[in-house]
Point group: C2
Chain length 307, copies 2
Amino acid sequence: MNPNLPIGIFDSGVGGLTVYRALHEHLPKERFVYLGDTARVPYGTKSLATVERYAVENAQFLAARGIKLLVVACNTASALALPAIRKSLNLDVVGVIGPGARAAVAAESTQETRTGRPRSQHPPASQRRIGVIATESTVQSGAYTAAINKADPEAEVIERACPLFVPLAEEGWADQDVARTVAETYLRDLRSRIDTLVLGCTHYPILKEVIQESVGKEVKLIDSGAATAVEVKALLKEKGLARLTPGTGALERHLCDDLDHFYVTDAAERFARVAERFLGSKPARLEAVEVWGHDELKNSLPLPLGV
Amino acid sequence: MNPNLPIGIFDSGVGGLTVYRALHEHLPKERFVYLGDTARVPYGTKSLATVERYAVENAQFLAARGIKLLVVACNTASALALPAIRKSLNLDVVGVIGPGARAAVAAESTQETRTGRPRSQHPPASQRRIGVIATESTVQSGAYTAAINKADPEAEVIERACPLFVPLAEEGWADQDVARTVAETYLRDLRSRIDTLVLGCTHYPILKEVIQESVGKEVKLIDSGAATAVEVKALLKEKGLARLTPGTGALERHLCDDLDHFYVTDAAERFARVAERFLGSKPARLEAVEVWGHDELKNSLPLPLGV
């Protein structure tokens, strides 16, 4: 595997840009290829079979482009489709659920909590509570509860679906009264019932401030995207896949092109507009593609970046 | 064409049930086959090419089932894809934009307006203003403005996208403070600027009360779905396609089965749950199907209802 290949990231749409941003911050030397499945967004209200099919198509599209590692930025796809994706690819695949869950457990065991007592003087582990907010499908899958309990079998997990957070973030209303009212409605009863809250959907970091206000400032928020970036960094090092110092050959110059590439399956203009809210600027290289019926289309696609 | 065949209705998801309800109320003797494309919902943020492709696939699926007329309940599909659908079918196709636009113009020319003056003493036609609220894609298409100006070239039309109304209606928060705040944010500046407001998305009738509060009670709200039902009733009469008194043969008994049939492309359970909020009860006959790759699938599909 050429360590100068880019890292592939896919999401159901624009939300995964929060994961891209975290990866970019933690791994400034790496290059990324991002796919947003905007023709079929959102995944969070769709079934296991449908999310699996969409996710595998996205994964194969990116793999055909030449990537060294795949990050599934979408929480719903990570919760429902990781086994199907791994079966379909000969690549390391990292989802956001495991890293988010592990970061929540790590935070629970080290932080001082809202009562001000250090963790050692705390109620027994069996009384610890971690909140998770996510899409309907992610909550229904129970994937976060399973992943948290794998890391800490005693932790009690409260999962809650917050469907309006996604359109609120995309509308750009993160700091408006509407966002505050919605967050209060979803979250007010979690106040004083949890020490840690996992933001289990890529859009939610955009609403971090109103979410923090609603659950109380003592609650530690975990951004699964940021937790994923930390684990990806460690994995690249472990596998010897971190990007090398640029060479001078033609291939190297191609591979060391510093612009990340963004693909969407529909409505590139809308993606660019919303992306600006998520990243602070519009993606420089953005292209609309089809990812379904991949086998027949393969020949008409642009050459894999790594070739 | 057998007048005892059902009327086909498709929508991007559950929202078209408000159109189904209106059709059912205006045409209690008719039977309906409804398709909700829940695997690819929503359409309102997607591009022309994508909405066309999805709409044609849905239309062909229903046509293969045996219907006498197709109603495109989805405003976005009506705005973007009617020509493509008509080209692909040998059937009468009715969208919701034309009926909604004509109903708005008719209301403008007959009603007394918020100033209390009858229309005859009103400002000249060129100063009349009709508001339209709809999805992003419907607004971008300008289809409502075109249809309204076809019926009244002097009318001034103000279109506005209200993306959060759909998830609000699906979440069941129509009568909550959140809905009131969202409606105020979108609509408060339309108050005193319009006499009539078209609800240009199937979900919006669910939010009728908060919308009315936000624009003021003098503004006449037009439900495109209800307007469509009135036009469909007239069309069936004109074409001699109204359903006949049930016969007694086996075919007639089959055709006169009084249960309407609902298909979804994904997540039937979620559809049933949200449908209850829209209809008051869960659909009795609900089935998940695939509508894409229709040609290859045709043989494996259930027999058309009309055979």
